[in-house]
Symmetry: C2
Subunit: 382 residues, 2 copies
Amino acid sequence: MNSGVKKSLLPQGLRDLLPPEAIHEASVMDGLLEAFSIHGYERVEPPLVEFEENLLDGAGEAMAPHTFRLMDPVSQRMMGVRADMTPQVARIATSRLAAMERPLRLFYGGQVLRVKGSQLRPERQVAQAGVELIGADSPEADAEVIALAYEALQTLGVENLSVDISLPTIVRAICDDLGLDRDAKEDVRSALDRKDAAAIAAMAGPVAGIFGGLLQASGLADKAIAALNELTLPEAAAAERDRLILVVERLSDMALGLMVTVDPVEHRGFEYQTGLSFTLFDRDVRGELGRGGRYLAGAADEAATGFSLYMDTVLRAVPKRERRSRLYLPHGTDLDIARRERTAGWITVSGLAPEKDVLTEAARLRCSHVLTLDGIVAVEKE
Amino acid sequence: MNSGVKKSLLPQGLRDLLPPEAIHEASVMDGLLEAFSIHGYERVEPPLVEFEENLLDGAGEAMAPHTFRLMDPVSQRMMGVRADMTPQVARIATSRLAAMERPLRLFYGGQVLRVKGSQLRPERQVAQAGVELIGADSPEADAEVIALAYEALQTLGVENLSVDISLPTIVRAICDDLGLDRDAKEDVRSALDRKDAAAIAAMAGPVAGIFGGLLQASGLADKAIAALNELTLPEAAAAERDRLILVVERLSDMALGLMVTVDPVEHRGFEYQTGLSFTLFDRDVRGELGRGGRYLAGAADEAATGFSLYMDTVLRAVPKRERRSRLYLPHGTDLDIARRERTAGWITVSGLAPEKDVLTEAARLRCSHVLTLDGIVAVEKE
């Protein structure tokens, strides 16, 4: 291994984006952010690092083991490098923008850094983009953010989108209502996580009926909702179920072509969610495109929902766009003409010195066309 | 101070960008990167952190005191958070893209982080954007990057641009040619940095004549170049002078309206530059917009030039653009109509519930217009 190669090695999970991938990722990100913007969401941009105690407070707590720490030489306090922008945006919404009218619609896009990659996400630096809808508690708000994720991804050419909707707090609500003790709760949770219908059926009292019914009520939305409607649930759980049904109904109007599935008992990865939550998939792409759901923002526990999309998986789902063609401008090309060709949509590449064979030079610099006295000429493919 | 306010405090020199500043900064960045792209430069995106020894190698060495360090738990090696993207792009150009044809034109845009702010730049996180032109040593290449910086900034509406061109290595070249000892060199350097013509004039031998002449040859390009042409310089210094003159002449063709000034002996802030360098200003804005110049890239000392722009100062120079108007869509608005209005250029804000007084609701949510059955109606200003 020579030293030139060795020097270019990056830490595991970190990478250089090169042409043309770098411009592709940037244009996908721009497309998402533009979609959020034209739906009335407004951009905020928190810093890459902030005080650890703020970054890892509340909703941010789950990211503590994934967060790099830095000592701030100015304040002598510990800072964290953000591993997730959601807690930062919630902080902004509930502090600096506390006086703004609700609902408050915010979006963000930026890089996050994690101490270690996971099997599903080996990258330690990922671009994250998302929205937060703060101060709206209605099913309409839930449907708006899901439909927005759908529309934003669809605009980029992502097909075969599906959303899996869950109620990560419904199991706890039912357990509490049934007065189950801690061991019994853990048994229920574990059996549901394993989708172990036999273990649930063997449980005593109303547990088997309710949780068995919930476990059955999953899959494609129509079938799952019919099953959910059959269930007799305690009050708090029934309210969650009814919200899910309203949201699914609204989505069938708002997001034509979005496949909706339901998995009411799923809760993993929704540790800080407090109600209806969802995961976005492209059915042809490994891994989830993003996820979101209800949470309580800030010290005043303001009703909020939102989602995050991660560029590593989103990029696998977005078709590459045709790039603009490169036009070689021989040395001495009139600058007004050069400007005109750029305005007409060309990428121009200027010759820095006169060349005898401009076609060869253009091909060497990966230009598809050359500007000549006779107009624009295609470079022959070799 | 209540705890809500206290929690929102960020470390000194770091800040949240809020609406509408966040979208303004992003659109200015996008405008710069688009200008670089249509001039044939291709995007690269290095990671936020990399191994310290690579990040601070060569051209990166000057940033060592400004760079945050992190321990990588995977490799157990130290990493640095980038304080400047230029060394990263030079690394990419000379390692991963070593086999690509020259000249290689690359651009980048991203956030950099610094341990402490300075008096001129109190921000510790700044967005940086720039280009590198690798493998071209001609004055034409110098002129191309300066003219590109000018055109990119002009596209954004920056007026009153000026560039100050200097030759940070010419003083050393002359001192070496004259065989000055270390003390004499330091005396010359110190007098030139103070622009102390009297001290230079008092020096012995040819020193007074040459450096006195260089010190005089500064200011507006026409006058400075006339003075430079009068000077009798040793060979290496004469070559640098001749290049400067060629670049200024080329710029007078390429960048009509760019004010060019010359300060041949300026070298501060150009510690890793190896030839013609420049600083960009808006004459109405405090601080420099960016800077650049010649350097040697990679272990093979490849000829390179480029520039970096910093968003904190660039934003002070760019006029705010008119933002798109916000159109309130009452609850229940047909989704195809909503889509049509967005396509027509509106930002739409959807009502999440029916409202009796849609005009008041629209105004509350900072919409300028409402969609009604009679079409789009302006919200009266209060």
